[in-house]
Subunit: 253 residues, 2 copies
C-alpha cells in the first residue's frame, strides 16, 4: 500500500482524496484542509487543519491554488519528501527546492458535488528524481487508466488547450442559455445538439465537423443573427468567432 | 401511411429521407436531388433529378439552402400542396404563397456519413393552415420523441443559440486541437475533458459549472497563456472570451 497525503481540500483536493481513499493499492494517511472541511465522505480522523501535525507518507500531493504552491511547499515539514503539485500551468520547479519535486496533474474539470469517472481522467506526470517515477506511476495507475509523462512545457500547452475546450466552451453554453431564455425557450431543447457536437469529434476531426452560416459564408443569416443579438458582448463574440471560422475555411470578410 | 416527398439531397435532405424511409408510418414516395445523388442506402428508383416528374404526396419537405427556399418553392408544381422548409433561421413566410406553408426544422448538426439518433432530435414545427397541424405532428412523431411547435421568431432565436452551442463550440475544439498539435500532443487526451464538459451541463447550469483562470480572475495564468499563443486570431479569441467570463462573474479587467 502506497502511503499518500493530500494537502488542500478545494474541488481538486477533495475529489483526489476520495479517489485515493477508495483505491485498493493506496493508503490515504491524512488530508490537510486549511479551513474546516465541508461535507464529504471521508472519515473525520483523516483530516487535519494543523500543518504541524502532518504525518509521514511516501508522497505528498499538493492541491492548493497555483499562486500558493511555492510558499506552501516551502512552509511544510519533512525535507527531502516527494512532493507533487496538481496544476496544469505551473512548472515543476515551483515546488520548494527542499523537496523531491514532482507533478500529478489530472486533466479534468472538477465541480462541487459532481462525481468524477476517475478511470477515464488522464493523469499527467513529471518527476525530477528518476527513482520517484515508479511511485508516481503507481499512484496514478491506481485511479486512472491513462497515465502520461510529459514536461512542464507540454503540460502548460495542454492546459491552454483545455481552457479553450472546457472554460470557453462552457461559457458559450452559458451565452446560448442566455439567448434562449430571453425567448422563454427551454435550454434542455439544445442538449441533443450539444451532445452530438461533443460526440461527433470522437469520429470526425473538428475541422471537418464544422457546419453553420460562418462555414458556408452565409452572410444573410450572419446579418440576421447580429441584428438579433442585443448584448454588445454577445455580438463581439459572434463576430470574432464568425471571422475566425471564415478565415479557417478561406472565406475572409 | 403518410405520403412524403423530400426535396434536396444535401446533409439534411439525405438524413431526413433515410429517417422517413425507415419509419413504419411513413411512405417515402420520392426524393428530388438536383445533381446525381452520391452514395446512400435508398433504392435508386426513389430518386429523381427531374422536377417535372415530381409525384403527388401529402407533404413536401424542402431541404435546400436558405437562399434557395423562396425561388425553389415558387418553381415547383402542385399549387395548394403542403410544403415545409427545414431551416432554422428562415421565416415560414418564405415558402411560396401558392402553397400551404409549413416548417419542419430538425434541431441537430448533420455531417456526411454520420448516423443520427433521430428519436432524440427535437423537431420544431410551424404551420399556417390549422388543418395541416395533424399531418406535421404525425410526420415529426414518426421519427422523433421530441416535437415542439414554435413561431418563426422563436425558431430563429433557437437557431442563433444553436450557432453558439454547436458552430462556435466546434471551432473552439478545432483551435484546441491546433494548439495541442503544435506540441506533438494527441487531441484524444482531451476527449474525457471535452465529454465531461458536455455531460456536466445536464446536471449543473453552465453559469455554475464554469471553472478556470478567467473565472478565478487568475491574471498570472492568463498572462502566461497569452504569451504562449502565437496566432493573433487565437489571442483575440482568448482575450475576448476571458473578458466575457470575467464580466459575467463581476471581475472586470
Amino acid at each position: 500500500m502506497l502511503k499518500v497525503i493530500v494537502l488542500g481540500f478545494g474541488n481538486v483536493g477533495q475529489q483526489l482524496a476520495q479517489a485515493f481513499y477508495h483505491a485498493d493499492t493506496i493508503d490515504l494517511v491524512q488530508v490537510y484542509s486549511r479551513s474546516k472541511a465541508s461535507a464529504h465522505e471521508l472519515p473525520k480522523e483523516l483530516i487535519t487543519s494543523d500543518i504541524k501535525s502532518l504525518k509521514k507518507a511516501e508522497i505528498y500531493v499538493v492541491a492548493v491554488p497555483d499562486d500558493a504552491i511555492a510558499s506552501f511547499t516551502q512552509s511544510f515539514p519533512y525535507k527531502e519528501a516527494l512532493v507533487a503539485h496538481t496544476s496544469g500551468s505551473v512548472s515543476i520547479e515551483t515546488v520548494s527546492n527542499t523537496h523531491r519535486k514532482a507533478v500529478f496533474y489530472p486533466l479534468q474539470t472538477f465541480s462541487k458535488d459532481r462525481e468524477i469517472a476517475w478511470s477515464e481522467v488522464p493523469i499527467c506526470l513529471e518527476a525530477t528524481v528518476a527513482e520517484d517515477k515508479a511511485t508516481l506511476q503507481q499512484l496514478a495507475a491506481a485511479i486512472s487508466d491513462t497515465v502520461v509523462w510529459m514536461s512542464s512545457e507540454k503540460r502548460r500547452t495542454l492546459h491552454l488547450a483545455a481552457v479553450f475546450l472546457n472554460n470557453f466552451v462552457n461559457h458559450l453554453y452559458h451565452i446560448s442559455e442566455e439567448i434562449i431564455n430571453e425567448q422563454q425557450l427551454d435550454f434542455k431543447l439544445l442538449l441533443p445538439l450539444l451532445n452530438e457536437t461533443a460526440q461527433k469529434v470522437r469520429d470526425i476531426a473538428p475541422i471537418k465537423a464544422q457546419t453553420g452560416p460562418a462555414k458556408r459564408n452565409d452572410l444573410k443569416t450572419i446579418e440576421k443573427h447580429l441584428a438579433l443579438l442585443q448584448q454588445p458582448n454577445q455580438r463581439d463574440i459572434y463576430q470574432l468567432l464568425t471571422k475566425s471560422i471564415q478565415a479557417t475555411y478561406g472565406k475572409e470578410l
